[in-house]
Protein backbone atom coordinates (compact mmCIF):
# COMPACT_ATOMS: atom_id res chain seq x y z
CA UNK A 1 0.00 0.00 0.00
CA UNK A 2 1.19 3.43 -0.92
CA UNK A 3 2.34 5.41 2.14
CA UNK A 4 0.35 8.48 1.13
CA UNK A 5 -2.86 6.52 0.88
CA UNK A 6 -2.21 4.88 4.25
CA UNK A 7 -1.59 8.24 5.90
CA UNK A 8 -4.66 9.83 4.35
CA UNK A 9 -6.98 6.97 5.16
CA UNK A 10 -5.76 6.78 8.77
CA UNK A 11 -6.51 10.46 9.32
CA UNK A 12 -9.91 10.25 7.65
CA UNK A 13 -10.89 7.22 9.73
CA UNK A 14 -9.85 9.01 12.93
CA UNK A 15 -11.85 12.10 11.91
CA UNK A 16 -14.86 9.99 10.98
CA UNK A 17 -14.74 8.28 14.40
CA UNK A 18 -14.45 11.68 16.09
CA UNK A 19 -17.46 12.90 14.11
CA UNK A 20 -19.56 9.84 14.92
CA UNK A 21 -18.67 9.71 18.61
CA UNK A 22 -18.48 13.48 19.05
CA UNK A 23 -20.43 13.42 22.31
CA UNK A 24 -17.88 11.03 23.86
CA UNK A 25 -14.79 12.77 22.53
CA UNK A 26 -15.82 16.30 23.47
CA UNK A 27 -14.71 17.31 26.95
CA UNK A 28 -17.30 20.07 27.35
CA UNK A 29 -20.69 21.03 26.01
CA UNK A 30 -19.87 22.91 22.79
CA UNK A 31 -22.64 25.42 23.42
CA UNK A 32 -21.97 26.05 27.12
CA UNK A 33 -21.16 29.71 27.70
CA UNK A 34 -18.89 31.08 30.37
CA UNK A 35 -19.09 34.83 30.18
CA UNK A 36 -17.00 35.50 33.27
CA UNK A 37 -13.88 37.54 32.64
CA UNK A 38 -11.57 34.61 33.51
CA UNK A 39 -13.59 32.15 31.46
CA UNK A 40 -13.36 34.00 28.15
CA UNK A 41 -10.42 33.74 25.72
CA UNK A 42 -8.41 31.36 27.90
CA UNK A 43 -5.27 29.98 26.30
CA UNK A 44 -4.80 26.24 25.74
CA UNK A 45 -4.56 24.32 29.02
CA UNK A 46 -5.15 20.77 30.31
CA UNK A 47 -8.70 21.86 31.16
CA UNK A 48 -9.36 23.40 27.71
CA UNK A 49 -7.05 21.73 25.17
CA UNK A 50 -7.48 24.40 22.50
CA UNK A 51 -8.47 27.24 24.85
CA UNK A 52 -11.81 29.01 24.98
CA UNK A 53 -13.42 31.51 22.62
CA UNK A 54 -14.77 35.02 23.15
CA UNK A 55 -17.92 33.61 24.80
CA UNK A 56 -16.00 31.20 27.01
CA UNK A 57 -16.93 28.10 25.00
CA UNK A 58 -14.47 25.22 24.84
CA UNK A 59 -12.79 25.37 21.40
CA UNK A 60 -11.73 21.71 21.42
CA UNK A 61 -15.30 20.51 21.96
CA UNK A 62 -16.63 22.90 19.34
CA UNK A 63 -14.09 21.61 16.86
CA UNK A 64 -15.02 18.01 17.64
CA UNK A 65 -18.62 18.78 16.72
CA UNK A 66 -17.44 20.87 13.76
CA UNK A 67 -15.86 17.71 12.31
CA UNK A 68 -19.40 16.47 11.60
CA UNK A 69 -20.17 19.54 9.53
CA UNK A 70 -16.98 19.51 7.47
CA UNK A 71 -17.05 15.79 6.71
CA UNK A 72 -20.75 15.66 5.92
CA UNK A 73 -20.57 18.72 3.67
CA UNK A 74 -17.59 17.18 1.89
CA UNK A 75 -19.17 13.76 1.36
CA UNK A 76 -22.71 14.83 0.55
CA UNK A 77 -21.69 17.63 -1.83
CA UNK A 78 -19.43 15.21 -3.71
CA UNK A 79 -22.15 12.57 -3.72
CA UNK A 80 -24.53 15.02 -5.38
CA UNK A 81 -21.96 16.06 -7.95
CA UNK A 82 -21.10 12.40 -8.60
CA UNK A 83 -24.72 11.48 -9.27
CA UNK A 84 -25.07 14.33 -11.77
CA UNK A 85 -21.63 13.85 -13.32
CA UNK A 86 -21.99 10.08 -13.74
CA UNK A 87 -25.46 10.34 -15.23
CA UNK A 88 -24.75 13.19 -17.68
CA UNK A 89 -21.27 11.91 -18.53
CA UNK A 90 -22.54 8.38 -19.14
CA UNK A 91 -25.47 9.45 -21.28
CA UNK A 92 -23.30 11.88 -23.19
CA UNK A 93 -20.53 9.40 -23.93
CA UNK A 94 -22.83 6.49 -24.70
CA UNK A 95 -25.32 8.15 -27.03
CA UNK A 96 -23.08 10.76 -28.66
CA UNK A 97 -24.75 12.92 -31.30
CA UNK A 98 -26.87 15.91 -30.31
CA UNK A 99 -27.30 14.68 -26.72
CA UNK A 100 -23.54 14.71 -26.37
CA UNK A 101 -23.16 18.16 -27.97
CA UNK A 102 -25.85 19.62 -25.72
CA UNK A 103 -24.41 18.18 -22.52
CA UNK A 104 -20.88 19.19 -23.49
CA UNK A 105 -22.01 22.79 -24.10
CA UNK A 106 -23.52 22.84 -20.60
CA UNK A 107 -20.28 21.44 -19.21
CA UNK A 108 -18.30 24.16 -20.96
CA UNK A 109 -20.58 26.80 -19.46
CA UNK A 110 -20.07 25.31 -15.98
CA UNK A 111 -16.32 25.22 -16.54
CA UNK A 112 -16.03 28.92 -17.32
CA UNK A 113 -18.37 29.99 -14.59
CA UNK A 114 -16.96 32.04 -11.77
CA UNK A 115 -18.18 29.20 -9.55
CA UNK A 116 -17.43 30.71 -6.17
CA UNK A 117 -19.29 33.87 -7.15
CA UNK A 118 -22.36 31.85 -8.10
CA UNK A 119 -22.19 29.83 -4.87
CA UNK A 120 -21.81 33.04 -2.83
CA UNK A 121 -24.77 34.60 -4.60
CA UNK A 122 -27.08 31.61 -4.30
CA UNK A 123 -26.27 31.05 -0.62
CA UNK A 124 -26.77 34.72 0.22
CA UNK A 125 -30.13 34.86 -1.51
CA UNK A 126 -31.39 31.41 -0.46
CA UNK A 127 -30.24 31.75 3.12
CA UNK A 128 -27.14 30.32 4.73
CA UNK A 129 -27.59 26.84 6.15
CA UNK A 130 -25.82 23.52 5.87
CA UNK A 131 -28.28 21.91 3.45
CA UNK A 132 -28.10 24.79 1.00
CA UNK A 133 -24.31 24.79 1.21
CA UNK A 134 -24.08 21.06 0.41
CA UNK A 135 -26.58 21.19 -2.43
CA UNK A 136 -25.14 24.31 -4.06
CA UNK A 137 -21.55 23.02 -3.90
CA UNK A 138 -22.75 19.71 -5.37
CA UNK A 139 -24.72 21.37 -8.15
CA UNK A 140 -21.80 23.53 -9.25
CA UNK A 141 -18.95 21.01 -9.19
CA UNK A 142 -19.93 18.13 -11.48
CA UNK A 143 -18.48 19.43 -14.76
CA UNK A 144 -15.00 17.90 -14.39
CA UNK A 145 -16.41 14.52 -13.39
CA UNK A 146 -18.85 14.58 -16.29
CA UNK A 147 -16.02 15.09 -18.79
CA UNK A 148 -14.01 12.30 -17.23
CA UNK A 149 -16.86 9.79 -17.35
CA UNK A 150 -17.68 10.75 -20.93
CA UNK A 151 -14.09 10.15 -22.02
CA UNK A 152 -14.14 6.70 -20.41
CA UNK A 153 -17.45 5.87 -22.08
CA UNK A 154 -16.19 6.89 -25.49
CA UNK A 155 -13.62 4.12 -25.44
CA UNK A 156 -15.64 1.55 -23.50
CA UNK A 157 -18.73 1.74 -25.69
CA UNK A 158 -16.81 0.22 -28.61
CA UNK A 159 -15.81 -2.83 -26.62
CA UNK A 160 -17.14 -6.31 -27.39
CA UNK A 161 -19.02 -6.79 -24.14
CA UNK A 162 -21.10 -3.71 -24.93
CA UNK A 163 -21.88 -4.96 -28.42
CA UNK A 164 -22.87 -8.38 -27.10
CA UNK A 165 -25.13 -6.77 -24.49
CA UNK A 166 -26.77 -4.73 -27.25
CA UNK A 167 -27.29 -7.78 -29.42
CA UNK A 168 -28.99 -9.51 -26.50
CA UNK A 169 -31.42 -6.60 -26.37
CA UNK A 170 -30.34 -5.11 -23.04
CA UNK A 171 -31.81 -1.64 -22.61
CA UNK A 172 -29.58 1.41 -23.11
CA UNK A 173 -29.89 2.59 -19.51
CA UNK A 174 -28.97 -0.86 -18.23
CA UNK A 175 -25.93 -1.01 -20.50
CA UNK A 176 -24.85 2.43 -19.32
CA UNK A 177 -25.22 1.83 -15.61
CA UNK A 178 -24.73 -1.92 -15.19
CA UNK A 179 -22.29 -2.80 -17.96
CA UNK A 180 -20.12 0.22 -18.73
CA UNK A 181 -20.20 2.34 -15.58
CA UNK A 182 -18.55 -0.20 -13.25
CA UNK A 183 -15.61 -0.31 -15.69
CA UNK A 184 -15.33 3.47 -15.78
CA UNK A 185 -15.22 4.01 -12.02
CA UNK A 186 -11.46 3.99 -11.36
CA UNK A 187 -10.70 7.57 -12.48
CA UNK A 188 -14.00 8.66 -10.94
CA UNK A 189 -12.82 7.59 -7.49
CA UNK A 190 -9.63 9.63 -7.89
CA UNK A 191 -11.51 12.72 -8.96
CA UNK A 192 -14.20 12.31 -6.29
CA UNK A 193 -11.64 11.94 -3.51
CA UNK A 194 -9.92 15.13 -4.61
CA UNK A 195 -13.30 16.88 -4.82
CA UNK A 196 -14.13 16.08 -1.19
CA UNK A 197 -11.15 18.19 -0.14
CA UNK A 198 -12.24 20.96 -2.49
CA UNK A 199 -15.79 20.94 -1.13
CA UNK A 200 -14.53 21.19 2.45
CA UNK A 201 -12.43 24.20 1.47
CA UNK A 202 -15.39 25.90 -0.20
CA UNK A 203 -17.58 25.27 2.86
CA UNK A 204 -14.99 26.77 5.17
CA UNK A 205 -14.55 29.79 2.88
CA UNK A 206 -18.32 30.31 2.89
CA UNK A 207 -18.43 30.01 6.68
CA UNK A 208 -15.63 32.52 6.83
CA UNK A 209 -17.75 35.01 4.88
CA UNK A 210 -20.66 34.29 7.22
CA UNK A 211 -22.46 32.28 4.54
CA UNK A 212 -21.92 28.80 5.91
CA UNK A 213 -23.26 27.03 8.93
CA UNK A 214 -24.74 29.60 11.28
CA UNK A 215 -23.66 30.11 14.87
CA UNK A 216 -24.14 28.78 17.51
CA UNK A 217 -23.79 25.47 15.60
CA UNK A 218 -20.02 25.00 15.50
CA UNK A 219 -18.17 24.51 12.22
CA UNK A 220 -14.44 24.87 11.64
CA UNK A 221 -15.07 27.80 9.36
CA UNK A 222 -17.23 29.79 11.76
CA UNK A 223 -14.94 29.18 14.76
CA UNK A 224 -12.19 30.65 12.62
CA UNK A 225 -14.34 33.61 11.63
CA UNK A 226 -15.23 34.38 15.22
CA UNK A 227 -11.54 34.14 16.06
CA UNK A 228 -10.27 36.52 13.42
CA UNK A 229 -11.26 39.57 15.46
CA UNK A 230 -9.11 38.34 18.35
CA UNK A 231 -6.16 37.22 16.24
CA UNK A 232 -3.63 39.49 17.96
CA UNK A 233 -4.21 38.09 21.48
CA UNK A 234 -5.98 34.75 21.04
CA UNK A 235 -4.10 32.94 18.26
CA UNK A 236 -5.58 29.55 19.20
CA UNK A 237 -9.02 30.57 17.91
CA UNK A 238 -7.76 30.84 14.34
CA UNK A 239 -4.82 28.46 14.47
CA UNK A 240 -6.47 25.15 15.44
CA UNK A 241 -9.50 25.22 13.10
CA UNK A 242 -7.25 26.24 10.21
CA UNK A 243 -4.87 23.36 10.88
CA UNK A 244 -7.83 20.98 11.15
CA UNK A 245 -9.13 22.05 7.73
CA UNK A 246 -5.62 21.81 6.27
CA UNK A 247 -5.02 18.28 7.58
CA UNK A 248 -8.41 17.03 6.45
CA UNK A 249 -8.11 18.44 2.95
CA UNK A 250 -4.50 17.24 2.75
CA UNK A 251 -5.57 13.70 3.67
CA UNK A 252 -8.21 13.56 0.95
CA UNK A 253 -5.77 14.96 -1.59
CA UNK A 254 -3.06 12.47 -0.62
CA UNK A 255 -5.49 9.57 -1.03
CA UNK A 256 -6.58 10.95 -4.41
CA UNK A 257 -3.02 11.49 -5.64
CA UNK A 258 -1.94 8.10 -4.34
CA UNK A 259 -4.79 6.41 -6.19
CA UNK A 260 -3.98 8.35 -9.34
CA UNK A 261 -0.37 7.18 -9.28
CA UNK A 262 -1.50 3.61 -8.73
CA UNK A 263 -3.81 3.83 -11.74
CA UNK A 264 -1.34 5.58 -14.04
CA UNK A 265 1.58 3.22 -14.65
CA UNK A 266 3.62 5.99 -16.27
CA UNK A 267 3.83 7.84 -12.97
CA UNK A 268 4.54 4.87 -10.73
CA UNK A 269 6.77 2.55 -12.77
CA UNK A 270 9.97 3.24 -10.89
CA UNK A 271 8.48 2.93 -7.41
Amino acid sequence: MNRRITFGITIIIILALVAIFASFVATHDPLELDLSLEGRLQGPSPEHFFGTDNLGRDVFSRMVYGTRISLSVGFIAVFISMVIGLFLGGVSGYFGGWVDSLIMRIVEVMYCFPTFFLIMMVITFLGANIVNVMVVIGLTSWAGLCRLVRAEFLTLRERDFVHSAKVQGVSDMRIIFRHILPNAMAPVYVSATLSVGGAILVESALSFLGLGVQVPTPSWGNILTAGKNYIDYAWWLTFFPGVAILITVLSFNLIGEGLREKLDPKLSESR
Partner: protein, 324 residues
Protein backbone atom coordinates in the same frame (compact mmCIF):
# COMPACT_ATOMS: atom_id res chain seq x y z
CA UNK B 1 -5.12 29.55 -38.05
CA UNK B 2 -7.29 32.57 -38.80
CA UNK B 3 -10.37 30.37 -39.01
CA UNK B 4 -9.44 28.75 -35.74
CA UNK B 5 -9.16 32.12 -33.98
CA UNK B 6 -12.47 33.33 -35.41
CA UNK B 7 -14.15 30.09 -34.41
CA UNK B 8 -12.85 30.37 -30.87
CA UNK B 9 -13.86 34.04 -30.62
CA UNK B 10 -17.38 33.39 -31.89
CA UNK B 11 -17.65 30.64 -29.32
CA UNK B 12 -17.39 33.25 -26.55
CA UNK B 13 -20.75 34.86 -27.40
CA UNK B 14 -23.08 31.88 -26.80
CA UNK B 15 -21.09 31.09 -23.65
CA UNK B 16 -21.67 34.60 -22.34
CA UNK B 17 -25.35 34.45 -23.14
CA UNK B 18 -25.64 31.06 -21.40
CA UNK B 19 -23.77 32.11 -18.30
CA UNK B 20 -25.50 35.47 -17.96
CA UNK B 21 -28.84 33.73 -18.39
CA UNK B 22 -28.12 31.29 -15.54
CA UNK B 23 -26.86 34.10 -13.30
CA UNK B 24 -29.88 36.25 -14.07
CA UNK B 25 -32.48 33.56 -13.50
CA UNK B 26 -30.86 32.26 -10.31
CA UNK B 27 -30.58 35.79 -8.96
CA UNK B 28 -34.20 36.66 -9.63
CA UNK B 29 -35.74 33.36 -8.61
CA UNK B 30 -34.01 33.40 -5.26
CA UNK B 31 -36.08 34.66 -2.35
CA UNK B 32 -35.36 38.13 -1.06
CA UNK B 33 -35.34 41.16 -3.29
CA UNK B 34 -33.64 44.55 -3.41
CA UNK B 35 -36.82 46.45 -2.64
CA UNK B 36 -37.44 44.80 0.71
CA UNK B 37 -33.69 44.79 1.37
CA UNK B 38 -33.70 48.53 0.87
CA UNK B 39 -36.93 49.52 2.54
CA UNK B 40 -37.69 46.40 4.60
CA UNK B 41 -40.69 46.74 6.82
CA UNK B 42 -40.23 50.48 7.09
CA UNK B 43 -43.80 51.82 7.29
CA UNK B 44 -42.63 55.28 6.24
CA UNK B 45 -42.06 54.00 2.70
CA UNK B 46 -45.36 53.94 0.88
CA UNK B 47 -46.53 51.26 -1.51
CA UNK B 48 -46.20 53.67 -4.40
CA UNK B 49 -42.57 54.43 -3.57
CA UNK B 50 -41.84 50.71 -3.56
CA UNK B 51 -43.63 50.26 -6.86
CA UNK B 52 -41.68 53.18 -8.24
CA UNK B 53 -38.40 51.59 -7.22
CA UNK B 54 -39.50 48.31 -8.78
CA UNK B 55 -40.41 50.02 -12.02
CA UNK B 56 -37.11 51.91 -12.13
CA UNK B 57 -35.14 48.65 -12.18
CA UNK B 58 -37.69 46.65 -14.25
CA UNK B 59 -38.39 44.49 -11.21
CA UNK B 60 -42.15 44.63 -11.85
CA UNK B 61 -41.87 42.72 -15.13
CA UNK B 62 -41.70 38.96 -15.71
CA UNK B 63 -38.18 37.50 -15.58
CA UNK B 64 -37.89 36.68 -19.33
CA UNK B 65 -38.81 40.27 -20.19
CA UNK B 66 -36.33 41.57 -17.65
CA UNK B 67 -33.60 39.34 -19.07
CA UNK B 68 -34.40 40.40 -22.63
CA UNK B 69 -34.11 44.07 -21.65
CA UNK B 70 -30.90 43.37 -19.78
CA UNK B 71 -29.23 41.47 -22.64
CA UNK B 72 -30.25 44.14 -25.18
CA UNK B 73 -28.53 46.79 -23.08
CA UNK B 74 -25.62 44.45 -22.42
CA UNK B 75 -24.68 44.34 -26.13
CA UNK B 76 -24.26 48.11 -26.02
CA UNK B 77 -22.01 47.70 -22.95
CA UNK B 78 -24.68 49.25 -20.72
CA UNK B 79 -25.09 47.36 -17.44
CA UNK B 80 -27.49 49.85 -15.91
CA UNK B 81 -26.96 51.76 -12.69
CA UNK B 82 -26.10 50.55 -9.22
CA UNK B 83 -29.07 50.45 -6.86
CA UNK B 84 -26.91 51.67 -4.00
CA UNK B 85 -25.27 54.83 -5.29
CA UNK B 86 -26.84 55.26 -8.73
CA UNK B 87 -23.47 55.23 -10.49
CA UNK B 88 -23.28 53.37 -13.83
CA UNK B 89 -22.25 49.75 -13.18
CA UNK B 90 -19.67 49.75 -15.95
CA UNK B 91 -17.97 52.79 -14.40
CA UNK B 92 -17.90 51.14 -10.97
CA UNK B 93 -16.37 47.99 -12.42
CA UNK B 94 -13.84 49.83 -14.56
CA UNK B 95 -12.49 51.73 -11.55
CA UNK B 96 -12.03 48.40 -9.72
CA UNK B 97 -10.85 46.17 -12.57
CA UNK B 98 -7.22 47.39 -12.85
CA UNK B 99 -6.55 46.45 -9.22
CA UNK B 100 -7.84 42.91 -9.79
CA UNK B 101 -5.94 42.45 -13.04
CA UNK B 102 -2.75 43.75 -11.43
CA UNK B 103 -3.08 41.33 -8.52
CA UNK B 104 -3.91 38.35 -10.75
CA UNK B 105 -1.21 39.07 -13.32
CA UNK B 106 1.52 39.44 -10.71
CA UNK B 107 0.31 36.29 -8.93
CA UNK B 108 0.26 34.32 -12.15
CA UNK B 109 3.77 35.48 -13.02
CA UNK B 110 5.09 34.53 -9.59
CA UNK B 111 3.36 31.13 -9.73
CA UNK B 112 4.86 30.34 -13.13
CA UNK B 113 8.35 31.43 -12.08
CA UNK B 114 8.28 29.22 -8.97
CA UNK B 115 6.12 26.25 -9.97
CA UNK B 116 7.80 25.28 -13.25
CA UNK B 117 11.34 25.07 -11.81
CA UNK B 118 9.98 23.06 -8.87
CA UNK B 119 8.24 20.67 -11.25
CA UNK B 120 11.24 20.32 -13.54
CA UNK B 121 13.75 19.70 -10.75
CA UNK B 122 11.38 17.27 -9.03
CA UNK B 123 10.99 15.30 -12.25
CA UNK B 124 14.71 15.20 -13.02
CA UNK B 125 15.62 14.19 -9.49
CA UNK B 126 12.67 11.95 -8.97
CA UNK B 127 12.25 10.54 -5.44
CA UNK B 128 15.13 12.66 -4.20
CA UNK B 129 14.91 14.60 -0.96
CA UNK B 130 14.03 17.77 -2.91
CA UNK B 131 11.24 16.00 -4.74
CA UNK B 132 9.73 14.58 -1.57
CA UNK B 133 9.98 17.80 0.44
CA UNK B 134 8.51 19.87 -2.40
CA UNK B 135 5.68 17.41 -2.90
CA UNK B 136 4.72 17.80 0.75
CA UNK B 137 5.15 21.59 0.64
CA UNK B 138 2.95 22.14 -2.42
CA UNK B 139 0.34 19.73 -1.11
CA UNK B 140 0.15 21.58 2.18
CA UNK B 141 -0.08 24.88 0.30
CA UNK B 142 -2.91 23.50 -1.78
CA UNK B 143 -4.81 22.14 1.22
CA UNK B 144 -4.48 25.27 3.35
CA UNK B 145 -7.59 27.45 3.17
CA UNK B 146 -6.58 30.70 1.44
CA UNK B 147 -8.37 32.94 3.94
CA UNK B 148 -6.68 31.17 6.86
CA UNK B 149 -3.28 31.48 5.23
CA UNK B 150 -4.05 35.16 4.71
CA UNK B 151 -4.90 35.58 8.41
CA UNK B 152 -1.75 33.76 9.49
CA UNK B 153 0.43 35.93 7.23
CA UNK B 154 -1.36 39.10 8.36
CA UNK B 155 -0.78 38.07 11.97
CA UNK B 156 2.89 37.14 11.51
CA UNK B 157 4.17 39.70 9.01
CA UNK B 158 1.66 42.45 9.60
CA UNK B 159 1.05 42.57 13.33
CA UNK B 160 4.03 40.77 14.89
CA UNK B 161 6.89 41.84 12.63
CA UNK B 162 5.19 44.84 11.05
CA UNK B 163 7.00 44.10 7.79
CA UNK B 164 4.21 44.39 5.26
CA UNK B 165 0.98 46.38 5.08
CA UNK B 166 -2.04 44.16 5.78
CA UNK B 167 -4.74 45.86 3.77
CA UNK B 168 -5.54 48.16 0.89
CA UNK B 169 -3.58 48.98 -2.23
CA UNK B 170 -2.94 52.72 -2.33
CA UNK B 171 -3.32 54.41 1.07
CA UNK B 172 -3.94 58.16 1.38
CA UNK B 173 -0.26 59.06 1.67
CA UNK B 174 0.65 57.77 -1.81
CA UNK B 175 -0.73 61.02 -3.25
CA UNK B 176 2.26 62.78 -1.71
CA UNK B 177 4.89 60.36 -3.03
CA UNK B 178 6.87 60.68 -6.23
CA UNK B 179 6.54 58.08 -9.01
CA UNK B 180 9.31 55.72 -7.90
CA UNK B 181 8.13 55.66 -4.30
CA UNK B 182 4.55 55.05 -5.47
CA UNK B 183 5.56 51.90 -7.34
CA UNK B 184 7.63 50.71 -4.41
CA UNK B 185 4.69 51.25 -2.07
CA UNK B 186 2.36 49.40 -4.44
CA UNK B 187 4.73 46.41 -4.63
CA UNK B 188 4.93 46.50 -0.84
CA UNK B 189 1.15 46.21 -0.64
CA UNK B 190 1.16 43.38 -3.20
CA UNK B 191 3.45 41.09 -1.21
CA UNK B 192 0.95 39.43 1.13
CA UNK B 193 -2.00 38.98 -1.27
CA UNK B 194 0.30 37.65 -4.00
CA UNK B 195 1.97 35.25 -1.57
CA UNK B 196 -1.37 33.77 -0.52
CA UNK B 197 -2.57 33.41 -4.11
CA UNK B 198 0.72 31.91 -5.24
CA UNK B 199 0.92 29.33 -2.43
CA UNK B 200 -2.56 28.09 -3.27
CA UNK B 201 -1.95 27.65 -6.98
CA UNK B 202 1.61 26.26 -6.80
CA UNK B 203 0.42 22.69 -6.46
CA UNK B 204 -1.51 22.18 -9.68
CA UNK B 205 1.10 23.78 -11.91
CA UNK B 206 4.17 22.20 -10.30
CA UNK B 207 2.56 18.75 -10.19
CA UNK B 208 1.48 19.14 -13.78
CA UNK B 209 4.91 20.12 -15.03
CA UNK B 210 6.44 17.29 -12.98
CA UNK B 211 4.23 14.59 -14.48
CA UNK B 212 4.54 16.11 -17.94
CA UNK B 213 8.34 16.02 -17.67
CA UNK B 214 8.31 12.43 -16.43
CA UNK B 215 6.07 11.41 -19.30
CA UNK B 216 8.35 13.00 -21.91
CA UNK B 217 11.44 11.50 -20.31
CA UNK B 218 10.06 8.07 -21.17
CA UNK B 219 9.84 8.90 -24.90
CA UNK B 220 12.03 7.15 -27.41
CA UNK B 221 13.61 10.34 -28.76
CA UNK B 222 14.93 11.08 -25.28
CA UNK B 223 16.46 7.62 -25.20
CA UNK B 224 17.98 8.34 -28.60
CA UNK B 225 19.39 11.64 -27.41
CA UNK B 226 20.97 9.93 -24.42
CA UNK B 227 22.22 7.03 -26.55
CA UNK B 228 24.05 9.31 -28.91
CA UNK B 229 25.90 10.66 -25.90
CA UNK B 230 24.44 14.12 -25.42
CA UNK B 231 25.25 15.64 -22.06
CA UNK B 232 22.37 15.14 -19.59
CA UNK B 233 21.87 18.89 -19.23
CA UNK B 234 21.21 19.26 -22.94
CA UNK B 235 18.90 16.29 -23.02
CA UNK B 236 16.81 17.78 -20.24
CA UNK B 237 16.79 21.39 -21.43
CA UNK B 238 16.53 20.93 -25.20
CA UNK B 239 14.76 17.64 -25.65
CA UNK B 240 12.59 17.09 -22.60
CA UNK B 241 11.75 20.56 -21.31
CA UNK B 242 10.62 21.97 -24.64
CA UNK B 243 8.17 19.19 -25.27
CA UNK B 244 7.03 18.92 -21.68
CA UNK B 245 6.22 22.62 -21.37
CA UNK B 246 3.82 22.57 -24.34
CA UNK B 247 0.75 21.30 -22.51
CA UNK B 248 1.49 23.54 -19.53
CA UNK B 249 0.19 26.47 -21.57
CA UNK B 250 -3.28 25.00 -21.24
CA UNK B 251 -2.97 24.94 -17.46
CA UNK B 252 -2.85 28.71 -17.63
CA UNK B 253 -6.38 28.68 -18.97
CA UNK B 254 -7.52 26.42 -16.17
CA UNK B 255 -5.75 28.43 -13.49
CA UNK B 256 -7.54 31.65 -14.39
CA UNK B 257 -11.05 30.67 -13.25
CA UNK B 258 -9.52 29.45 -9.98
CA UNK B 259 -7.67 32.73 -9.46
CA UNK B 260 -10.75 34.79 -10.26
CA UNK B 261 -12.89 32.70 -7.91
CA UNK B 262 -10.24 33.17 -5.24
CA UNK B 263 -10.19 36.92 -5.73
CA UNK B 264 -13.68 37.25 -4.27
CA UNK B 265 -12.51 36.11 -0.87
CA UNK B 266 -8.92 37.38 -0.92
CA UNK B 267 -9.85 40.91 -1.90
CA UNK B 268 -12.36 40.95 0.91
CA UNK B 269 -9.72 39.95 3.47
CA UNK B 270 -7.00 42.28 2.24
CA UNK B 271 -9.44 45.14 1.57
CA UNK B 272 -8.02 45.14 -1.97
CA UNK B 273 -9.99 47.66 -4.02
CA UNK B 274 -10.69 45.18 -6.82
CA UNK B 275 -13.66 43.72 -8.60
CA UNK B 276 -13.91 40.69 -6.30
CA UNK B 277 -14.67 42.84 -3.28
CA UNK B 278 -17.10 44.90 -5.34
CA UNK B 279 -18.93 41.69 -6.22
CA UNK B 280 -19.02 40.55 -2.60
CA UNK B 281 -20.41 43.89 -1.45
CA UNK B 282 -22.95 43.91 -4.28
CA UNK B 283 -24.22 40.45 -3.31
CA UNK B 284 -24.52 41.47 0.33
CA UNK B 285 -26.53 44.56 -0.69
CA UNK B 286 -28.73 42.75 -3.24
CA UNK B 287 -27.43 45.24 -5.79
CA UNK B 288 -28.70 43.28 -8.83
CA UNK B 289 -27.18 45.34 -11.67
CA UNK B 290 -23.72 45.28 -10.09
CA UNK B 291 -23.96 41.54 -9.32
CA UNK B 292 -24.77 40.86 -12.97
CA UNK B 293 -22.02 43.18 -14.14
CA UNK B 294 -19.33 41.62 -11.97
CA UNK B 295 -20.48 38.08 -12.84
CA UNK B 296 -20.35 38.79 -16.55
CA UNK B 297 -17.02 40.62 -16.48
CA UNK B 298 -15.48 37.81 -14.41
CA UNK B 299 -16.74 35.35 -17.02
CA UNK B 300 -15.34 37.46 -19.86
CA UNK B 301 -11.94 37.49 -18.15
CA UNK B 302 -12.06 33.71 -17.74
CA UNK B 303 -13.13 33.13 -21.34
CA UNK B 304 -10.44 35.47 -22.65
CA UNK B 305 -7.85 33.63 -20.57
CA UNK B 306 -8.94 30.28 -21.97
CA UNK B 307 -9.05 31.74 -25.47
CA UNK B 308 -5.50 33.07 -25.16
CA UNK B 309 -4.16 29.78 -23.84
CA UNK B 310 -5.90 27.85 -26.64
CA UNK B 311 -4.40 30.18 -29.23
CA UNK B 312 -0.94 29.95 -27.69
CA UNK B 313 -1.23 26.18 -27.64
CA UNK B 314 -2.20 26.15 -31.32
CA UNK B 315 0.70 28.46 -32.08
CA UNK B 316 3.29 26.30 -30.37
CA UNK B 317 1.84 22.94 -31.39
CA UNK B 318 1.00 22.71 -35.11
CA UNK B 319 -0.89 19.42 -34.63
CA UNK B 320 -3.77 21.28 -32.97
CA UNK B 321 -4.11 23.72 -35.85
CA UNK B 322 -4.39 21.06 -38.51
CA UNK B 323 -6.74 18.82 -36.62
CA UNK B 324 -9.52 21.37 -36.31
Amino acid sequence: MKNYIIKRLLFIIPMLVGISCILFVVMHLAPGDPTSMRYGLNPEVSESARANFNRMYDLDKPIPVQYWRWIKRFFTMDFGKSMIDDRPVIEKIMTRLPATILLQAVSLLVVFCIAIPIGVISAVKRNSLFDRVMTIVVFIGYAAPAFWLALVLIFLFGFKMQLFPVSGMTPWYTAYLDEGAKIKDLLWHLVLPVTVTAIGSLASLSRYSRSSMIEVMGENYVLTARAKGLPEKRVILNHVLRNALLPIVTVLGLTLPVLISGSFILETIFAWPGMGRLGYEAIMNYDYPVVMGVGVIATVLTLLGIFLSDITYALVDPRIRFNK
